[in-house]
Each structure stands twice: as structure tokens, then as C-alpha cells.
């Protein structure tokens, strides 16, 4: 009987597509040319930088300002108390990241932003304040529009510095 061997995978699963440094005291950051036919799924990471105030980070795809649906669960550091938040036909995914005057953080997976299907996302982020907690969120954008760009916007104040990195998952 012949014995077969699986060939090892030589290519990595994640490819860095784009790196964007955030400017000084900007109220939003748009990253263009992030999504394409090459990948179906993406990871977006934001690290470093500061906010002018504590804020949540919202994600908008292209110019779409309706049809964002998501649920978020936050577990408080102090008591493990669970609270829920929602985007119900919102103008963006409103709680995908968090920032303070110390640091910004966002760790988000996105599926099908370019493909003509519903775009879905999953995020988990650390609310860097002692009175806050850790937050998980998932949701989808209720259309089949193809997007190449996204925008991050703080709920209040401005952003300075920090680096946005967009990775593609190998199809």
C-alpha cells in the first residue's frame, strides 16, 4: 500500500497589506485600498498613539452610513458584571476599539468587505480604564456592497499617532 505525505504549507496565513500612521489631532482616519479580490478575510490592528480623551472607536466601511448591526458584551474589571450594547441599523460599528490619553487599541477581524456578500466582523478590545472592562463584539453590515476603504472615528475628541495595520488572510 502506498503511503502518502502531506506537503508542508510554505506560505504564512497572514499577509501585511497596508500600514497607516495616524497624524496629529485628527477626528477620523480613512484607509483606502485596504480590501481587494485577493483576500476574503482581513485583520485590522491599531496600536500605539493617544486620544485627546477616553473614547470608543467606530468603524465605517466606504461611505455607507446605515445598516450596521452588532452586539457587544463588556465584562467589568471590578466585578465581572456583564453589560450589553448594540448597533441597531446604526451609522457605523460603534464600539470596535477603545482609546485614552495613554494608548489606542483595536483588534478586529472582518470577512467579505470586498466580496458581494454581507460584511461580518468580530472584535475584542481592552478598555484601558480601571472602572471599565473587556469587550467582545460581533455583527454584520446588511448590504452586499463591495468596499475597498474603511474609516475609524473616535466617539469624542481626536487621535494622534498610532499605527493601523491591515492584514489579509490567505484564501
Amino acid at each position: 500500500m502506498a503511503v502518502g505525505f502531506l506537503s508542508p504549507t510554505t506560505a504564512g496565513g497572514l499577509t501585511l497589506i497596508k500600514t497607516q500612521t495616524i497624524g496629529t489631532t485628527v477626528s477620523s482616519v480613512t484607509v483606502t485600498g485596504a480590501f481587494s479580490t485577493t483576500y476574503d478575510a482581513y485583520k485590522i490592528i491599531l496600536s500605539g498613539g493617544v486620544g485627546s480623551a477616553s473614547h470608543n472607536l467606530a468603524l465605517q466601511l466606504g461611505a455607507t452610513v446605515t445598516g450596521y448591526y452588532a452586539g457587544y458584551i463588556t465584562s467589568s474589571y471590578a466585578a465581572g458584571t456583564i453589560t450589553g450594547d448594540k448597533d441597531n441599523n446604526a451609522a457605523s460599528f460603534t464600539l470596535v476599539g477603545y482609546g485614552t490619553a495613554n494608548v489606542l487599541n483595536l483588534n478586529l477581524d472582518l470577512q467579505n468587505p470586498f466580496t458581494a456578500k454581507n460584511t461580518t466582523f468580530q472584535t475584542f478590545n481592552s478598555l484601558t480604564a480601571t472602572g471599565a472592562g473587556s469587550r467582545l463584539g460581533t455583527g454584520y453590515l446588511a448590504n452586499t456592497t463591495s468596499y475597498t476603504d474603511f474609516t475609524l472615528t473616535p466617539s469624542t475628541g481626536t487621535l494622534t499617532g498610532g499605527t493601523i495595520r491591515v492584514y489579509g488572510y490567505k484564501n
Binding site: 495616524i22 497624524g23 489631532t25 485628527v26 477620523s28 483606502t32 467606530a58 466617539s155 481626536t158
Partner: protein, 64 residues
């Protein structure tokens, strides 16, 4: 009055009037959402304090 700055890739510029109006509306909505979330937390903490004052233990409150 200078409008807030926006960044598109490496270009940083002031918002257009249209963008600025949308931005102000979003900020207002965010403030309302935050106030609603804060009120929810405050109400929950108040309820928990009242239950504790009635003599319920933390385990009993958690079991509710």
C-alpha cells in the same frame, strides 16, 4: 473657526461643511448613547446596593 481635521491615508485636511455637519450629528448621537449607557450602569449599581441593603449576599444577588 477651524473645522476638525480628517485624515485620508497620508493626507490631513479640514472637514468639508457636509462632513462637519455629519460629524456633529455623530458626536451628539455618541454623547446620547454614552449617557444612556452610564444611566444603565448607575441604575444597576443602585439596584444591587438596594438588594445588599435588604440582606442578600453577593452569591444570592448573582443567582438572581
Amino acid at each position: 473657526m477651524a473645522k476638525p481635521l480628517i485624515q485620508i491615508d497620508d493626507e490631513v485636511r479640514e472637514m468639508t461643511d457636509e462632513k462637519f455637519n455629519a460629524y456633529k450629528a455623530l458626536q451628539t448621537a455618541n454623547a446620547e448613547a454614552q449617557a444612556e449607557a452610564d444611566a444603565k450602569i448607575t441604575a444597576r449599581l443602585s439596584a444591587l446596593a438596594k438588594l445588599a441593603a435588604l440582606g442578600l449576599t453577593e452569591a444570592e444577588i448573582a443567582a438572581l
